[in-house]
Assembly symmetry: C2
Homo-oligomer: 113 residues x 2
């Protein structure tokens, strides 16, 4: 399992506009091999920003890399950088591999919002 | 959905020992109401450390809070701070709520390592 996260520092008072921008985006992630789940996460608040993380689960890192080279990716990012800046600085990307160990999962609760 | 993450800066050359410490821990997370999934994630490397994240998915933040006050939590952390330090500084906790939007999930691929 590979999780791709982008960390966004969203300016105070801009949170609702930031969430709305994500809600209104089209997504073609479901067309991609190895795609498992996407969530936008709202995290801790600081004095000048609220941390948001885009959180995408893939079967493998190769599936994620294929996505970054796809027409679907270009389509999803064609409006990036347009409109007023809602964030402080650029998003910071972090990619994670799950460490093999006995998996602990309760499927009943997985992804039930 | 609530995701609790703890960020660990693991000293270079200590990664295998850190993973082994997690593998050998008992877990009673599956006993907790609202528990969905636990993964240990290995992230980007820097000059002096590799970033690891403990990543636990709960149905709600209240379920997570109940865990932090439980006997199961005390049991899981009874050995914390013992043994040689494998990390730089203390772990940094970040809690995240998923932002309500149309959920994008491919259940076939969810949590298949």
């Amino acid at each position: 399992m590979f999780i791709a996260m982008n960390r966004f520092r969203v300016r105070k008072t801009m949170e609702e506009a930031f969430e709305q921008r994500w809600r209104s985006r089209g997504s073609r992630l479901h067309e991609m091999a190895g795609f498992a789940a996407f969530h936008l996460l709202r995290g801790p608040e600081s004095d000048d920003h609220t941390l948001y993380v885009s959180h995408t689960i893939w079967k493998t890192q190769d599936d994620f890399i294929a996505w970054t080279k796809s027409a679907q990716f270009r389509d999803a990012h064609k409006d990036a950088g347009t409109g007023p800046s809602l964030t402080i600085g650029h998003p910071i990307f972090e990619g994670f591999e799950s460490v093999p160990m006995t998996e602990i999962v309760n499927q009943t609760n997985a992804f039930s919002d």
